[in-house]
Symmetry: C2
Amino acid sequence: MILSALLTSVGINLGLCLLFFTLYSILRKQPSNAIVYEPRWVAEEKSEQRSQFSFERLLPSSGWVRRAWQLSEEELLSISGLDAVVFMRIFIFSLKVFAFAGTIGVFILLPINYLGDFSDLANKSLDSFSISNVTSGSNRLWIHFCAVYVFTAFVCYLLYFEFNYISSKRIAYFYASKPQPHQFTILVRSIPVSSGISVTESVQNFFTEYHSSTYLSHSVVRQSGKLQQLLSDADKLNRRLVRLKSTNRARERLRRDGFLGLFGHKVDLLDYHEKKLQDLEDNMRIEQSSLVGKEVPAAFVSFKSRYGAAVALHIQQRVNPTEWVAEPAPEPQDVHWPFFSASFIKRWICKFVVVVTYISITVLFLIPVFIVQGLTNLSQLETWFPILEGILSIAFVSEVITGYLPSLILQMFLLFVPPVMLMLSSIQGHIAFSRIEKSSCFKLLGFTIWNVFFANVLSGSALYQVNVFLEPKEIPRVLAEAVPAQASFFIAYVVTSGWTGTSNELVRLFPLICNFIKRRLSGKAGDDFEVPSIPYHSQIPKIAFFGLLGVTYFILAPLILPFILVYFCLGYIIYHNQLLNVYAPKFETGGKFWPVVHSSTIFSLILMQIIAIGIFGLKELPLASGFCVPLPVLTLIFNDYCQKRFLPIFQAYSAEVLALFLSDQYTLSMLRAMQCLIKKDRDDQNDPSMVEFLNELVTAYRDPVLMPIQYSGRNDRNTSLLHAAEV
Amino acid sequence: MILSALLTSVGINLGLCLLFFTLYSILRKQPSNAIVYEPRWVAEEKSEQRSQFSFERLLPSSGWVRRAWQLSEEELLSISGLDAVVFMRIFIFSLKVFAFAGTIGVFILLPINYLGDFSDLANKSLDSFSISNVTSGSNRLWIHFCAVYVFTAFVCYLLYFEFNYISSKRIAYFYASKPQPHQFTILVRSIPVSSGISVTESVQNFFTEYHSSTYLSHSVVRQSGKLQQLLSDADKLNRRLVRLKSTNRARERLRRDGFLGLFGHKVDLLDYHEKKLQDLEDNMRIEQSSLVGKEVPAAFVSFKSRYGAAVALHIQQRVNPTEWVAEPAPEPQDVHWPFFSASFIKRWICKFVVVVTYISITVLFLIPVFIVQGLTNLSQLETWFPILEGILSIAFVSEVITGYLPSLILQMFLLFVPPVMLMLSSIQGHIAFSRIEKSSCFKLLGFTIWNVFFANVLSGSALYQVNVFLEPKEIPRVLAEAVPAQASFFIAYVVTSGWTGTSNELVRLFPLICNFIKRRLSGKAGDDFEVPSIPYHSQIPKIAFFGLLGVTYFILAPLILPFILVYFCLGYIIYHNQLLNVYAPKFETGGKFWPVVHSSTIFSLILMQIIAIGIFGLKELPLASGFCVPLPVLTLIFNDYCQKRFLPIFQAYSAEVLALFLSDQYTLSMLRAMQCLIKKDRDDQNDPSMVEFLNELVTAYRDPVLMPIQYSGRNDRNTSLLHAAEV
């Protein structure tokens, strides 16, 4: 790729970014778009109502940028929880890394690589700015060598600092947290059931016998797939009904009952929906009564103290380790198990199936990527489609195709991957949204690195070299040959996927269009909207991948660094804004996503070092190549230390809770200690809130489908009686 | 190697074995050898005294074989503990495997491989009996293919059965065990010490605060290296004194005080030793008093119940996981830490140093092995030492050299390895003999497989192919070419190292000679002998390696199987006898050595399958080669299941103890429950023995060097007063 092609691509994307920013500035001020751009505030009914038309509404403004920039970490923590803070720390960390790398890269490495004439700059190949331009055996390469060492040391220092910082944040977060049901609960699976005894009795017997002083209650898991569907339908219907009742305009309540409300008889929607809801409720009651028998040998067991839960978690293993398998319970609203299985063997088999499927998907995905690669090759395209020859000969079109189209098509394909990975992770046996997302995070990261980085690198230069991974000795040489050749592709990728992709995140084009269509069709939108949550599993791998590109190309093609730095700046502003206005946290893992970023950075460093070993070898500087060999080893040792030093804080939630709340060893003293922490002003004679909490805990993990049904205006007393009877 | 050379080697070794058996039969009846052949009974003073000379003493007999054969598992368990039982299970397991493999190998595979004429059998190369003799593409190879599948399935079944059996044994053993100090104790390291507070106070504060209901006592670790030396000297001297006093013959008490008792003045040994002992004691007292300050930030912490210890072990992790690092305590007599370190960082660095050293040693060791390989090549030898030409041309000599010498020299080199591995394992930071031995076991196994198996296989055929391990794709082909070529070497190895080595174990040549020399010199032996313990760390890898040879060569050269079967029969008899008469257990791990054997067998299976893939490829049967590919995967999956199913039982001692003694959750009920288990006849009103046990527990982990010194006939009351004061 020549410089002018790159500049075209940068120009197009810069234009798109500006367009998106302007669009956002205007669109966000339209009241009808509030549920797209400010769903959090709409849900909390704090959104400013700008129903009157004013000219100001049509002018772009930049006040939101200032607000996003000024958002402090404490504010973010109180608004969106620790996970959001950790998410933003990825940007801060990356900005630090690439500010340093960019300075070295642009002011030291780039001039050294170039060292040529400045005539005809526009037609210069981008290779002139990369390490390929340095003559073999040149002593200038020693500067690159030093850069590798300095950069590694700097990144390791930052990684340590960041891990330490986030650990302390996590600890502080737990210190400050109120008692939460999942801290007091464990999930027990593979409960052995003898004939004649129900699972409930079995659990009751086991825990009252062995954990009598701390055991509080339990709720057995039931097969409730069908009921869950009914419940979510009823929920939706109910929400719509509430909205309908609140709007007093009779006109809106009349609607045709046929397809999309366009055909059929006119009916009163209120009556129509109420009747439907009642039917649903009856259905659900029948299901509920039939469900009692469908017990699964798994149960949520709650304890009177965090200490009790942790002891049971670590200790209640029986002689046969495949029975009474315990794991920490997720938050009640976080529970999600479309593929829940209580049996040890089944889960074990599922894991293997998932691993095999994951590998197959990752390998098969190469095919579309190769086609995309073919598109960047103009002459190939002309051979395939001779008709296009005329169009492709236009300079601008050819520049668009080489500079922009390939990565766009790649993006389209990549869109389908995150849902598949989520599916795989849930089949794998994770029992909570947060854990499924974390597992998908790792899967997607591996997928992206393989399919975007390695596939492009190896297919671009020599497709048949994919089997280099079967000859470890050859890896540095092959990578050193192939990676620099793809520098221009990845610069274009950063600009397209990074810049425009992030700006698109700001405008939320897809939800905007959906909202528009819905509003046109149903007249009034927003009767059943949900506040979205940030999809960590797809965002974190994307961000981490740009980090990987930057680190890998740091010495090879430092020209990429400014573009990456711009990407992280954009990301910092935009995600701050989105976390503030759009996304509400669905769960709280307490920063458990950080280790993903740490691992990915370590991997990037090692990849960079291996390529450095290869490139110094290729450039006939075997001494430098040899001196680079200790680097990956040192990096791995550093990583091992970090894992030992910090990972336990992130892993076993309960091991740590006990360190933090060691004083809650005995229920009574715990009650007091925790009360002191939470509300200093309460007298510590009796602890009504804690007692209340423990009462709530009893029902926290009851399957929501088993709760008494109370939509259609029945008597409330009736329901609470039912409730009381069950408790 | 031709058949006659093999037969020569077998003949020599069979002769040696018979010689050793006869020697043993005679020597064991000589009273002076009792401390060599029956040290256990001498120590317990149960050895039959045959002081009178009788003619029967000079006749070989075989009664001991019958006795060893008839020894049941229950008897062995009561005599030598569970570790010895598990050790013997290795032989039983191997006998089952190779009885099956031998039957298939000798009666099905061997005839198929041979299928030739029987003329000039003596000069037939051993290759005629191996798979190399089957023509490429022959359909007969499908029988080998079936054999691989059937054998894998059979071994996996046996592995599962055995793991299950030993797990149940381990559990039964714990059920039956009396309360032991190490079950109630943990070792805590990296105790943070603030200025002004001693380690003792720090531990006391921590555990009384957070584990107040279960905490019993603790003893801080001290730097006592010098004192330990003094103590062991004093111990030895004291034992000698006791012996001297018991022998009333004045003549023996007079001896010269110079070199080896041969020169110098004649002195009364009793007075001489007593004076020396008193000096030592005074030295020790001075050391003891100076030791109080030398506290190390580590301590043994004892609890009132197993439950308390397990809870503290799993839970007392603090916010910083590198502080208050807990691990289960070993048995008091098992504690051994020449390189103890309390600091987390130091131990972490030590581990890395050990890993690097281990790899270097393993690689450097190849040099002597290559020299040994050179010796098997007669023409090479003649070129090096032309003088030998005459001798080497004698058929017998050349057969001895090719058949016997190489493996003997290899053995000599291998003798030095186990102590080095022990040293490495103790530097690594293990704190008990048992753990050091287990770690060395793994190290030695890896060392043996690499240096005996791979080095011979790869150097014998093509030395330069060592770097095949950098090209994973090539491994099956290279191994399939190289491994069958070394079949004759390994048959000779089994006969030499296996048969003769094991018979040598019976005769205990080295201790016998030592004992003889000592008796000659000092007139009377046995005044300071110790009952030896079986060196698991060197024996288990040796036995496992013969298993590996048998499994690997099962389809390649089934001729090796009968020899291996004989080896395991010999081993079964001989080790039964030695466990009965010679070795006393030094520690009890409860069968923790079994997972080593399991892993080694899985590794052997996979190696065999990889070679099968390669050999079917070489023999132009790609279909069979392809159908073998799922085998290693299935084996690994099977292994993963076994690890999940059984390993937790072997790993965390305390996690399991709690499952077993779950009823000892509260001290009082525990006291009763355990008493019931141990002694049904004791009334459970008050539990004097448990109280006594807890009293003993307080001092169980006190450094022996800090105990009051009481050798030279001082007043006993004095010591016990001291003792009481310390408690």
